[in-house]
């Protein structure tokens, strides 16, 4: 058996810029298919068709219909993120700390993995079949109990309808992210608190929640961005009847409903700004929270 010898010692080879060649395919791919397309949108938002710098596209967003689209998108995303955080936290806390039997934990996490990936078109179908005009729950409530959801003003194609639907992937995502953080709460902290005379409520208010606070807020930001960019569920659920930003942008790209491609750039740029802010908060707070949860 012959062994191949390398004439160049590794210490010298590792100093050569050749090392960087190893990540070149990745860098090229990311540049071509993530950075450049995004930059193209951002730059396009500040350019007129002749290629000159302008703020007219951004100002073009200032119409009642577009403002209200952003507003309702932000409201839906915020509501589904807040509720998702709250309920997901409740369920995760019940399983990790609340004394539920251990065997529930593994199926719950598996199911969360499935449900957080069960978004898009099929999710909309599931909710139409449940809470739609002839859905399972709607019909059951009307014929068996006598509650007419429609008469009460409930409509699946509305703010609350969309929020309830989005919760189906928001809650599991929260459970998946927050369970490790809850596991990071050390038993000793609770014992130390109770030795010092703290009640359960005081332990949560003064020890556990301050520790968890960054990861809670951070996850909130991630969930917000998650539902703000959701296109497929909204379109499959509402057609194009609900005026929210992703649907507006989709229609704009498809058929230039707004009549001006550069306004499309501005719309997309606005989406990047909103999700970008949410995720900057997330990344910053996560870096802070990880210092605690070693």
């Amino acid at each position: 058996m012959t062994t191949q010898t390398h004439p160049v010692p590794r210490s010298i080879a590792s100093r050569l810029p050749l090392n960087w060649l190893g990540v070149a395919p990745f860098v090229i791919f990311i540049t071509l298919f993530l950075f450049l397309p995004t930059m193209h949108i951002v730059v396009g938002a500040f350019r007129n068709p002749a290629g000159e710098f302008t703020l007219a596209n951004i100002q073009g967003l200032n119409t009642p219909s577009i403002i209200s689209a952003y507003w309702i998108s932000i409201k839906i995303s915020l509501a589904s993120a807040l509720l998702g955080c709250l309920i997901g936290f409740g369920v995760a806390a019940a399983v990790t700390l609340g004394g539920l039997p251990r065997w529930i934990r593994s199926p719950l996490l598996t199911f969360s993995g499935v449900a957080s990936n069960f978004a898009g078109v099929p999710l909309a179908f599931a909710f139409l079949a449940t809470l739609g005009p002839i859905g399972l729950v709607t019909v059951f409530l009307r014929t068996e109990i006598g509650i007419d959801l429609r008469a009460l003003g409930f409509n699946l194609l509305s703010f609350w309808g969309l929020t309830i639907t989005y919760l189906f992937f928001q809650i599991p995502l929260m459970i998946l992210i927050i369970t490790p953080a809850l596991d990071g709460l050390k038993r000793e902290w609770r014992e130390a608190a109770s030795i010092l005379g703290a009640s359960g409520f005081q332990y949560w208010r003064m020890v556990a929640l301050p520790i968890l606070f960054p990861s809670l807020l951070g996850t909130l930001a991630l969930l917000f961005a998650n539902s703000f960019g959701a296109v497929a569920t909204a379109i499959a659920l509402t057609g194009s009847s609900l005026n929210i930003v992703p649907i507006l942008l989709f229609a704009q790209i498809r058929g230039d409903v707004l009549g001006d491609p550069h306004l499309g750039y501005a719309l997309a740029f606005g989406m990047i700004v909103v999700t970008g802010i949410a995720n900057t908060i997330y990344i910053w707070l996560r870096a802070r929270s990880e210092r605690w949860l070693k």
Partner: protein
């Protein structure tokens, strides 16, 4: 009281999650008046458009997985071995597809790679398919990279590489016959998530005008009553299958080294 609230939280959660699943299943069985039947499924499965789009999306998913593995495994390996300082930056970049909405990315593709550009990918069906694969690879990057990187953490990359090198292996051999088999479980879990994402993806395929499963589902939803529910059940079963496969393969994962330092 203290014993009650965890159960209550769990019960509310269960009801919320089971009702839609129950709703879609029940609805999908109601096509024939008065009795439960599998008519909606039979109709969907017999639809040639279903077969075409489903096959298209499966092929796309497999191509995306292949491309993703070829892109991510060497990169993650190389970064761990030679450029550990770069790791936080690469990790940050791989998380960006969670920040930038897919609809924005594909909007950029359409404008950047149209027929009058330097890389006219949208000019032909094949080119658009390739662009779609790249788009899917971008969407699945956060999951793929994380999975592979976690897998690499459990093995001693430097020692394995040096051992292979001293036996005369080149880089391709090291990657294909030493590193890849060791992180296969991680690669597979990344692959199954990718499969689930690609199969149901709607936005990119619809805006690039490709005959994929996601747009087909949306079209059927706009025109039919019972078939969409059947499709939703099928899609849920596929997602569940992918996640179950992840659980199964991860049983074979190598355990993290006992002594971490």
């Amino acid at each position: 009281m203290r014993r009650l609230w965890p159960w209550l939280a769990l019960a509310v959660g269960l009801i919320y999650f089971i009702l839609p699943l129950l709703g879609m299943t029940e609805f999908s069985l109601k096509m024939r008046r008065g009795v439960y039947s599998f008519d909606a499924y039979a109709k969907v499965l017999a639809d040639p458009r279903f077969q075409e789009t489903f096959t298209f999306s499966v092929v796309m998913a497999l191509a995306t997985i292949l491309f993703g593995v070829l892109l991510v495994v060497p990169t993650a390996y190389w970064v761990r071995l030679k450029l550990p300082r770069l790791r936080p930056y690469i990790e940050f970049v791989t998380l960006l597809p969670l920040v930038i909405p897919a609809i924005v990315i594909v909007f950029g593709y359409i404008r950047l790679y149209n027929t009058s550009s330097w890389l006219p990918l949208t000019g032909s069906a094949m080119g658009t398919n390739i662009l779609l694969i790249f788009g899917y690879a971008t969407l699945s990057l956060p999951y793929m990279y994380r999975a592979v990187d976690t897998g690499l953490r459990t093995i001693d990359v430097a020692t394995l590489t040096e051992a292979a090198q001293s036996l005369g292996a080149g880089w391709v051999t090291i990657l294909a016959r030493v590193i890849l088999p060791n992180v296969l479980v991680a690669v597979l879990s990344g692959a199954f998530v990718t499969f689930a994402i690609v199969l149901g993806e709607f936005t990119m395929a619809a805006l690039l005008n490709r005959p994929a499963f996601g747009p087909y589902m949306q079209l059927l939803g706009a025109n039919r009553a019972y078939e969409p529910a059947a499709l939703a059940v099928i899609a849920f079963a596929i997602t569940w299958g992918c996640m179950a496969l992840i659980q199964i393969v991860s049983r074979f994962a190598p355990k993290a080294p006992v002594n971490p330092h």
